[in-house]
């Protein structure tokens, strides 16, 4: 009983803190719109960490993540008039960052695709198909450290499309509602739900051979990596 009331108290405290932060965000927005440029500073200082976390998970590297954070705040400042004061500034800035990160990921992919010369592509096509089968069965030695798994996870995330990665990051790591993900992806909620599922499916196919039952490294994966089953057994 005591534990329950303690937990209820903590929830109330957290809600009170969130409300206070939202209120002070609203004041800072009003002051910025009234011409006090420095009022925007408190918004930047308050939300930078959250935006960086999202940006890093979406882009997969620090340099791009830093750029996403800065650009998101610049865009937020320039479009602050479009922000309804009753909305939550954090959520709004978060959405701007997610959208910019998607653009950036797409742009990078296009650049990489352009950089791939026709000769390199031809070479790739001429390769023996057997060579293309990845030597993914890791030896126990190779799997000795988490670095290997981490690398695999980063690779698997890179293989996702920008929409899939956004959907996965927002849903799994950031705990966003499907409606919020749909708004960022500019899709319907059912399409957003499918995108989340597709991303999990792809990650599972790529990572399951290396992951043990509790999500830790599977040291004996070398010879007996479990294969994902089909939709029906």
């Amino acid at each position: 009983m005591i534990r329950m009331s303690e937990s209820a108290g903590r929830t109330q405290d957290r809600e009170a803190l969130q409300n206070a932060a939202r209120e002070s965000d609203a004041i800072a927005v009003e002051r910025t719109l009234a011409g006090e440029r420095d009022a925007f500073r408190s918004l930047v200082e308050r939300h930078s960490q959250q935006l960086f976390r999202l940006a890093y998970r979406m882009t997969g590297n620090e340099h791009d993540a830093e750029e996403v954070v800065q650009e998101a705040f610049l865009r937020a400042y320039k479009n602050l008039g479009q922000f309804g004061s009753r909305a939550n500034f954090g959520t709004w800035a978060y959405r701007i960052a997610a959208n910019y990160a998607i653009d950036r990921m797409r742009q990078k992919r296009n650049e990489e695709a352009r950089r791939q010369t026709p000769s390199a592509l031809a070479e790739e096509q001429e390769q023996d198909p057997l060579d293309l089968v990845p030597d993914e069965r890791p030896t126990p030695d190779r799997l000795a450290g988490n670095t290997e798994l981490r690398k695999k996870m980063e690779e698997a995330l890179k293989e996702l499309s920008s929409s899939e990665r956004t959907a996965f990051v927002m849903r799994h790591w950031e705990g966003c509602a499907i409606e919020e993900i749909a708004a960022v992806l500019k899709s319907t909620t059912s399409a957003a739900k499918n995108t989340v599922f597709r991303s999990v499916q792809k990650l599972r196919r790529a990572l399951e051979p290396y992951v043990g039952a509790r999500g830790v490294l599977q040291a004996k994966a070398a010879g007996a990596a479990p294969q994902p089953r089909g939709t029906e057994l």
Binding site: S48, Q49, F73, Y77, N79, Q82, R204, G215
Partner: protein, 263 residues
């Protein structure tokens, strides 16, 4: 019941399926489906451990320092800004200047066939000279009023400068356009003065409406530090002179423009 699909299991994990009870019941009796759900969970748990580089408590400040120089003076007010009457006044004034310059260009007859372009340029410059001259005159008045403002009664704690602020805001849009035109035309001297004026007008527009005598004094000092009143008067007078002399031609060549800018 058939085995559950991967999609059903994931939806169950996400708390989104409508058949929760039936799925939960199936999971208690079906080891294969339970194992399957565990495997999904295992992959997601592994991904939970993917680290994000730490950013210290100073990170927000560092971000601010990086973006602050790139922020425009005023936050964008989006489409609402376009509904403000003062913006329509500025746009209307500029449209009138552009239209006058165009009409004047069309109607002015060149004296000889060899110099029509110069003639059009002269007329255009004259229209702009008049418009910029008027703009500088209005700006000078606002700055003069602020420079001479003082508490009306001894002991007055606050001085209201809202009227001057509104006028400064009205002048800002036009000032920006004139400055850009001057830059485009290579008139660096005029562009510099308009640039200085813009900073001062912004400073006035962004000050609080009610100022303490000390804050008013500090604002007056900032205006004085730019020497803007003097510069505005000099350039204003130059433009008036130009307006009076009908045959004065604009500096047509690059070297002429350079000489004038140096002067």
């Amino acid at each position: 019941m058939k085995h559950l699909t991967e999609e059903q299991l994931f939806a169950y994990r996400e708390g989104e399926t409508t058949q929760r009870e039936a799925i939960a019941e199936h999971l208690t009796s079906c080891t294969a489906c339970r194992t399957e759900l565990d495997r999904i969970e295992a992959v997601l748990s592994a991904l939970d451990n993917l680290p994000v580089p730490e950013r210290g408590p100073e990170y927000g400040r560092a971000v601010w320092q990086k973006i602050a120089p790139r922020l425009p003076e005023k936050a964008g007010r989006g489409w609402r800004a376009w509904l403000e009457p003062r913006r329509w006044v500025a746009i209307g004034a500029m449209a009138a200047v552009v239209a006058a310059a165009f009409v004047a260009g069309r109607w002015s007859k060149p004296k000889d066939a060899g110099a029509p372009a110069a003639s059009v340029a002269q007329v255009r410059e004259r229209v702009l000279v008049v418009a910029v001259g008027e703009h500088l005159g209005k700006s000078e008045m606002v700055l003069m009023e602020l420079a001479n403002a003082a508490p009306s009664a001894s002991g007055q704690k606050q001085i209201n400068i809202s009227a001057e602020q509104r006028r400064a805001e009205d002048l800002l849009d036009a000032n920006r356009l004139y400055r850009e035109t001057a830059q485009h035309d290579g008139d660096a001297a005029l562009a510099d003065v308009l640039d200085d004026l813009e900073r001062v007008l912004l400073d006035v527009a962004h000050s609080p409406q009610e100022l303490t005598p000390a804050k008013l004094e500090s604002l007056q000092k900032r205006i004085e530090a730019h020497g803007i009143l003097f510069k505005v008067r000099v350039v204003g007078k130059e433009l008036q002179e130009k307006e009076k002399t009908p045959n004065s031609a604009p500096p047509a060549t690059e070297s002429e423009k350079r000489e004038r800018n140096q002067a």
